[in-house]
């Protein structure tokens, strides 16, 4: 019930933030209306990276404690992370075409490293399908999740380390955070969208974690059922052999 309320709050917050970003905030002097895509784009990008950070931390926790609940958290975060990273890329493309003149440029380090994170996230989810053994699957996934998270600081610093199309961070250092170069209304719209998306992210994480736990229980039941059936078959075989001798 509490999770459902969180979902409705998230929905209302996203609608409010979208109306604020689309209607209340004026168009940018240089970028025009295309600037409005920045609000969901940046929020999606930050939450995508947060998701893969959670996947890595939960993966480290799993390797340390061998608790499958941590693997369920890692799995949930990876799936939600793939979703938000895909949103970030889509938003960036829809902004890039009118402002940069191109949807995509592979030479840009920020774009390429973000695409790499999406590919690693999809790879993580595919890898999980390769094994039926929960412990083996969780171990392999944890390793891939940690490797994927190594890309997050590279994405962040890519605009500082290398030259590309993507602009340098607007909120990169604490002084910019307190005194951003963007106008106040733009910052409020961005932070509002980030807050709304964060609520939705929490809702999706909880739901996906619940699903992962139930799926694990069903899978475990199926595995125990197969073991039990195999034991019964072996016992029956032994009886048949005894009686035929």
């Amino acid at each position: 019930m509490k999770t459902r309320i969180l979902g409705f709050v998230g929905l209302a917050a996203v609608i409010g933030a979208a109306v604020f970003g689309l209607v209340v905030v004026p168009a940018d002097l240089n970028q025009g209306d295309a600037q409005r895509i920045m609000y969901p784009h940046v929020a999606s990008a930050w939450l995508g990276e947060l998701s893969f950070g959670v996947t890595a931390l939960a993966g480290i926790g799993y390797l340390w404690r061998r608790d499958l609940r941590l693997d369920a958290i890692a799995h949930a975060a990876a799936e939600v992370g793939v979703l938000f990273t895909a949103f970030a890329i889509w938003g960036g493309m829809m902004w890039g075409r009118p402002v940069w003149g191109v949807y995509w440029q592979w030479e840009d380090p920020r774009l390429a490293t973000t695409a790499l994170l999406l590919a690693l996230g999809i790879g993580y989810l595919l890898l999980r399908r390769l094994s039926d053994d929960p412990a083996r699957r969780a171990t392999r996934a944890a390793v891939v999740g940690i490797i994927a998270a190594l890309d997050i600081p590279i994405i962040h610093f890519s605009v500082i380390w290398w030259r590309g199309l993507h602009q340098t961070p607007t909120f990169g250092d604490p002084s910019k955070l307190l005194n951003p170069s963007a106008p106040g209304l733009f910052v409020i719209a961005l932070m509002g969208m980030l807050a709304a998306f964060t609520i939705v992210w929490c809702y999706l994480m909880i739901r996906r974690y619940q699903l992962a736990r139930i799926e694990w229980q069903i899978e475990e039941h199926g595995r125990l059922g197969r073991i039990s059936a195999a034991r019964r078959a072996a016992a029956l075989n032994a009886v048949v052999q005894e009686t035929s001798e």
């Binding site: 209306d33 409005r36 979703l83 949103f87 829809m94 809702y203 996906r208 699903l211 139930i214």
Partner: protein, 53 residues
């Protein structure tokens, strides 16, 4: 396509995608819960597990 077209496409895919994922997740969760309940009911109907096997 105009700037407004790109804005609409950007918001529609992101917000619509999130909504579709939330709905799909809800359905997957409901189906998993039903399967889990069915397993529990079947287990209760079958009685205690066979320890001799």
């Amino acid at each position: 396509m105009t700037d407004v077209g790109f804005v609409i496409a950007g918001y529609a895919v992101i917000l619509g995608g999130a909504a579709l994922y939330a709905i799909a997740l809800g359905r997957r969760l409901r189906a998993a819960r039903e399967t889990s309940m069915k397993i529990r009911r079947d287990a209760e109907a079958a009685g205690p597990p066979d320890r001799t096997a």
